[in-house]
Symmetry: C4
Subunit: 239 residues, 4 copies
């Protein structure tokens, strides 16, 4: 491997380690649950958290480097997160995605366990997610027994295809009875999307408790907030 590639992978490891720890500090993660990965499509390399390593001891050199088929690329590598296969399916299908995050964050899990789309009740949701965050269908017994983590990726892809969703406009999914995955072009943004998702999942829960008629945000207000922050006419932030 040439020198610049070694350096690029080293920097990926540092970012992946840093963002996994940031995810845990944000309060979304209990024990060792949750994992963050990043892809470098030119090098054909994915870096992901190792499985079951406590966050307080986590070091960049422990991050696991694989190719897009999940083959380990370094000697003496730790085992990758058991959800790696799900990440890989998503990287292959969602071509603009540069990083993926999986958590069992409390409020997003409540919606996943209830088997429901997370509905866009307000502008906090619309600022990040352009419409409902979809729930996947249940995996069949055959799918679970065959290749569970890979098929988890496959039903996410199926959900986005069937509903004709753009994964960068709706950068999150709820896997039924399980929990959320989020993603983005950059790893910082992918982690932020997990933070936003749990926050709006909590807000939407309270909204339903308070109201008998569940009235979604009007589509023109959804558009306004989403495009105030995203796309060529965005005017939020310093960019």
């Amino acid at each position: 491997m040439i020198k610049t590639e070694i350096k690029a992978i080293q920097e990926m490891k540092e970012r992946v380690c840093h963002e996994n720890i940031r995810l845990e500090k944000s309060g979304l993660v209990v024990l060792t649950w949750g994992n963050v990965s990043e892809v470098n499509r030119e090098l054909g390399v994915v870096v992901i958290k190792p499985s079951g390593v406590p966050y307080e001891e986590m070091l960049p050199e422990q991050m696991v480097v694989t190719d897009l088929e999940g083959n380990l690329l370094e000697e003496n590598s730790l085992k990758p997160s058991s959800d790696l296969a799900t990440h890989l399916v998503l990287y292959k299908e969602f071509e603009e995605v540069g990083a993926i995050v999986h958590t069992h964050s409390k409020y997003a899990v409540m919606w996943a366990q209830a088997g429901r789309d997370l509905l866009p009740y307000g502008t906090t949701h619309a600022d990040t997610f352009y419409g409902s965050v979809p729930i996947t269908r249940q995996l069949t017994e055959e799918e679970v027994l065959r290749s569970y983590e890979k098929d988890t990726g496959a039903i996410i892809v199926e959900t986005f295809r069937n509903r004709k969703l753009n994964p960068l406009a709706v950068p999150a999914v709820l896997t039924r009875n399980h929990g959320p995955f989020t993603w983005a072009k950059t790893i910082e943004k992918a982690v932020e999307n997990s933070i936003v998702l749990d926050e709006v999942a909590h807000m939407a829960l309270g909204t339903e408790v308070l109201s008998n008629h569940h009235e979604k945000i009007p589509s023109y207000l959804l558009d306004k907030h989403y495009f105030r922050k995203h796309g060529e006419n965005a005017y939020y932030g310093q960019g």
Copy 2:
């Protein structure tokens, strides 16, 4: 600009920076959501948080200085918070208001998303808000497309006019499907009003879960608590 004006604006920047950070530390703010501004009516100057700058890096010199029409008054200024236009409408209409705060604080947003007035269920509410915190009507599609942030201010004003509310007696509003704005004569008090609002929004949510009949605080008890802390016969605090 003469020397005392420069000093006055410098002090505004320090206060606005300090109170934005205090707002974030209070737990009401996720990521870069939320903004605090202050007006100096003699100078015709508003100071507000820049858009999308992380709180941990925020410095007084980054605060944005505008006139009451929103024109930037300093060279090399950062972009102001995208909600500036809403603040300006409120400063023009609410003549005694010296500072405005906008957040997406969780429990206040739940009420805003439910499209409901926050009802005064107890003395914690009455100590700060003299009656229900009103919900605005929904903006029309035309209003959203025309001048969204300005019209957000306009429907707040419309709400207070229609209901004949005194903005200093009810120093908060819930914008429908969006979230709260609070204000006060001083910037410290405006931030405190956001803190109180989220707390009483949480208490009121639990109150409704626990009771089938939602009985508001009696008006004489509302009066007692509000006027124990406000107006010429107040006897709370050391003032």
Copy 3:
């Protein structure tokens, strides 16, 4: 005043200041809400938090010293907490009580605003409160206008008399549309009772959400847990 009395009052001030700060650190208090007092019945002296002073700046010498009629006993005293009159009524009626705490803690307030007794659903409740924590009746308009804080004490006393409750066995009350008062022989225990009250108020809220039939703890289990910790046959702790 003789030397030992001066020393006794100095120690009361230190305890009262310390326990007010502990109350705030426990998460039960927002802004300057909440107050703790202690009585020395031999000296005829009450020490209470001053009104509206921020917790982070609070010093023992700022604590306010009064007699049992509420007369200030020191020159240059700050104003006492506006709830002093309520504390004094309780000290007079509940002769074994040595300290009183008032908060607007979130979950206890939800029950107070719902106008309901806090029911004993489990042993966590029974370990501290021997039966329901009672809700007071609503004050009449006349009572509120006449002497609000004193009459708040009077309806607490009325509630305990009418229900024949022992204030040391049920060391807490919920004042309707307002919030909790707790007490105990010692100031440390009085603060702990506020902590326990909010915790069991939260647990009871969740219990009701989860169950359609609200089944109270059996009275024999209530007895067991209460008397495991209280009275001459107690066997909890090292005492």
Copy 4:
């Protein structure tokens, strides 16, 4: 006692003290509630937290050493946790269990007070608990009066026998109107099971609020997640 035994007990005390403090830091414990014990079956020794000692002052030498009948084995011992008798019954019946934890953690208590099994709504539950966490029946008045803590153990055993549950596959129970006990082969894992239990109890509460039909996780998905982490075909973690 020979030298290696003294050392083994010393190490137990350090672990038990450390894990009691970790339990408190995890946010599951209020005041002095909660206790952790460990057994050494070869030595016939149990080490448990003393009753009512504040966590911030807790030292390894204060941990209480007993035999499996609850007899104190050291001079000048503090009194053991009042729940010791429950722990001892469980150690006798559940032969592979090496450590036991009791808490009054908020969300687990809500389910215990509601008198309901904690249902497996998702994979977060299935990763640790192979099926519902069972609720015990109510103790009779006679049982409470006779030997309350011992009979609390007896009804846990009865529950596991009647339902033919494997205590290592379902390492937790909810005692009705009281709260949870968890256990495991190791003390670290027993504490983690308490953390997971409260988290999934919270998630399940929200799940029920969000859904009218309460649909449990399919059994094949429960199997998959449980056996992904447990047993000879587990592939989670580095082990």
